[in-house]
Symmetry: C2
């Protein structure tokens, strides 16, 4: 049972990967890249430290451009990020019959609702799995127990979220000031190994 997990190097997608691996799935961690910026480096590092196979899937640059236009027009990132996420899942479904991501119970964006999940599974004949059974308290608790986590301010180098290439493209089109307004700097957690190996 091979499963592809959309992977950023963060706590949520890492816990999802661990759950699937523990259940016996052959897990591949996947970072989508749209060709604008090498956003996969943090994800590759986390995957390697944890011993997971990692793969980069090339996304259509036009999708990122569309999403960035939406975000610039909206003045906030939610709709654009949801567009990118939906595209990423469809791309995953072309490569894996079990498609997974680190969406947890209390996530708002990106997130598929129940009807969108049913449609995604049926249209593509795949199974979709996330960590919708767990809230942020559980993720924090588990992550502190299982992983070595690094907390740091977001930068272009230390995470592999969709945000990285989106931010790059906004900066290029409209300047860094707008990019920072739409994605304010914040503390993020990056998984950099198993706690047991410390």
């Amino acid at each position: 049972m091979k499963a592809g997990v959309l992977y950023s190097g963060g706590k949520d997608s890492t816990i999802c990967a661990v759950i699937l691996k523990n259940l016996g799935y052959q897990v591949e961690l996947v970072t989508i890249n749209f060709g604008y910026y090498p956003s996969w480096r943090a994800a590759v590092e986390s995957s390697s430290k944890l011993g997971f196979k990692h793969r980069i899937l090339k996304g259509d640059s036009g999708i990122l451009e569309d999403a960035v236009q939406t975000i610039i027009n909206d003045g906030f990132p939610n709709n654009g990020i949801n567009k990118v996420h939906k595209y990423a899942l469809e791309l995953m479904a072309k490569n894996y019959s079990i498609v997974s991501d680190g969406t947890r119970r209390d996530d708002k964006v990106p997130k598929l609702n129940l009807d969108q999940i049913r449609s995604f599974e049926d249209r593509n004949n795949v199974e979709y799995i996330n960590i919708g059974g767990m809230g942020h308290k559980t993720i924090k608790h588990l992550s502190n127990t299982l992983f070595h986590v690094k907390k740091e301010l977001t930068s272009m180098e230390n995470n592999s979220d969709y945000e990285i290439e989106i931010r790059f493209l906004i900066s290029k089109l409209k300047g860094e000031e707008l990019a920072f307004k739409i994605f304010p700097e914040h503390l993020q957690s990056r998984v950099i190994g198993w706690r047991e190996n410390e």
Copy 2:
């Protein structure tokens, strides 16, 4: 990290227990009993075959009576079963700081919505975990891979759902005919061991 999992012996609650055990939780499977009928036997058998610790928690018989009145008045089981489930979770929260059940993504009843989950966690200072990240296809697939499952018509002896004692009480108060109308006989799956041990 001790976690209590509401347990019926079915696929969903068993998969939830396995996920938590694999993550390192010290799992206790729990069946609530209201003192009307020894409904725990199937759950005890499944737990023992799988090597999990099992515990019976005594519920307030008045809660079951209230729920049965609701079900008789409604003519269908959903609201009454939700009442019993909410009570069961509150009882679990008095005994465990991590409370879990086998609710999956596409379940309708019993199920807490997001606001109810947040309230449950905050009021009781617990974490609530279910398998809301998985749909029925994934559960079936995983269950066929991991477990030895027995499919059979529901009876009073072969499952440990709330339904058993509710059915017992409806039969006692209003006769078997109404009990069968409200809970029609159906095929159910019961986990009776690990597949690797076959």
